[in-house]
Amino acid sequence: MKGKTTTTGKTHSTTIKVDYLARVEGEGSLYVKIKDDAVQDVQFKIFEPPRFFEAFLRGRKFTEAPDITARICGICPVAYQMSSVHAMEDALGVKVNGPLRALRRLLYCGEWIESHALHIYLLHAPDFLGYEDAIRMAKDYPGVVDRALKLKKVGNDLVTLVGGREIHPVNVRVGGFYRVPTKYEFAPLVERLKWAREAALETVRLTGGLPFPDFEQDYDFVALRHPDEYPFNEGRLVSNKGLDIAVREYENYFSEEHVRHSNALQSSLKQRGAYFVGPLARYSLNFDHLSPLAQEAAREAGLVPVVCNPFKSIVVRAVETLYACDEALRIIEAYERPDRPTVEVEPRAGTGYACTEAPRGILYHRYRLDARGLILDAKIVPPTAQNQKAIERDLWQFVSPRVKLSRENLTWQCEQAIRNYDPCISCATHFLKLELDRE
């Protein structure tokens, strides 16, 4: 816990306030008001200034979107690149298939491995094992933390090889890549990915044995679903409550609103409200498309095909990491270097839509282009912005039966509940802070 805790005490009221939550990406805070042992209000606040990316994309060429939007996030730049290139290709009537399509999945595998390894071990595991942070955890579990760093490094190296650079890859373009790797270049990675797959399997076992609070919720899970594969870049938007739409229909079914306490727009599923995106949703809607190894590991770790306890997201992330290693190996094995690194793309007027599965959930992009291929307007809806309402709702449910806990304990557990979402607040606007107001 990095934030400070203060108390204002009237006879019947207590305020607990943590200035910002540690181990989440960005700047934000949480406010919880408790009166007579009942939760009165929960506000998940994001106060990092909005970043105006949508505005400064206007007037830029369609080819620039992948490199500009990659700058929105240092943890999931690949997701921004993938959503932007697919949206542009949708607008321009281009379809990328074969090895180029496979390379895009491979690049995403790298990002999932590095992002999930970071979150599981360095940000989330200390919560379950009772450590203040990963540094203290590392003193008791040096082998585990060392494994985490090596696992993450495999993901980084995969992104470096396919994306050209570790952070903010530079090799992605509308239509494909600037350069495609040779099969020979993948050779040194294969052994390391096999090690990573074992390490991920160990991670599933380790996280499966953690203690979880009893907290099953009825969520509207929303994720991509593809007929044949666990989703990265393509598919229909589906939910466990009957939603089944094409990505281009997104704005007909989802709305965004500004709330006073947050700089990030809050998303809702029209007529339904809060919904849940990310590993738990993806897994629960696509369990059947996980590789046999990932499915078996999930079952052995005690997961059922639909997981409704957000605290178990740490296990689901481990399963997805395992899947990503498995899938990466499969793609590399089948890979034949294409003759050309890209397909021809000609500018034309039109609107393009795309959703891809960022490590934290669906990332929606929409662009309207003029005949010269200049961007007229852009819309970007990151996963954390979509999860804000679900986070608030979880906290409401989570705090209610725990109002009698000590302030320190409750604060810590609330932070933990937020970290279930691995919120990337810098993406959403887009830092975190906890205020507990008790009357």
Binding site: K2, E25, P142, L149, N156, I425
Partner: protein
């Protein structure tokens, strides 16, 4: 991240340049957040000097990437913006081998696992490089936008000078002919 590769070539002392211990210089920061970009600015200024015995890299400050960057390196110099409330441009030099780092000083980025965490994690795992020196330059403004404050530019210039002198000195020392090994005389 840019890295300059130097091909080994013979030197006056007959040593090859590849044998010279290299210094790894890491500039950390985000140039789009005002003075937070000072680490990157220092890295670029040092890269332009094309030292034969130094590798210069730029990094965002994400902690695990840093621990990987310095693996195997003997001497590492890391430059980053800090905010401890000193005069803007003030240089804080920290020997990370002997001093613990306060985790709330580095501006780094909004990343919760940043420079100080990386160093403390590496310390916990016994993975710190044998020599790790941090230059923290006190920033003034971390608002969105590109460009450094004049005071911070002054600080950056001084840090560039100090690091450059150190790197050149290390090279001179390593190229100096070593004294021949002592002749052992068997005791009668």
């Amino acid at each position: 991240m840019k890295e300059r590769q130097v091909k080994p070539r013979p030197t006056a002392t007959g040593k090859r340049l590849g044998d010279v211990p290299r210094v790894l210089i890491i500039g950390v920061g985000n140039p789009a957040r005002g003075d937070d970009g000072v680490g990157i600015a220092v890295a670029r200024a040092l890269a332009a000097k094309r030292f034969a015995n130094a590798t210069v890299v730029e990094a965002s400050g994400e902690g695990t990437t840093l621990t990987q960057l310095w693996q195997g390196a003997q001497t590492v110099i890391l430059v980053d913006a800090v905010a401890v409330g000193a005069e803007p441009g003030t240089i804080h030099r920290i020997d990370a081998r002997t001093q613990a780092l306060p985790t709330d000083v580095f501006r780094g980025s909004s990343h919760s696992f940043g420079v100080a965490e990386a160093i403390e994690l590496a310390r916990a795992l016994n993975q710190l490089p044998p020599r790790l020196v941090i230059y923290g330059i006190e920033g003034k403004s971390f608002e969105s936008g590109i460009g450094l404050s004049p005071e911070v530019i002054g600080g950056a210039r001084r840090v560039v000078g100090r690091i450059a002198r150190g790197v050149r000195e290390q090279r001179r020392r390593s190229l100096r002919p070593q004294p021949p090994p002592p002749i052992l005389v068997a005791a009668r």
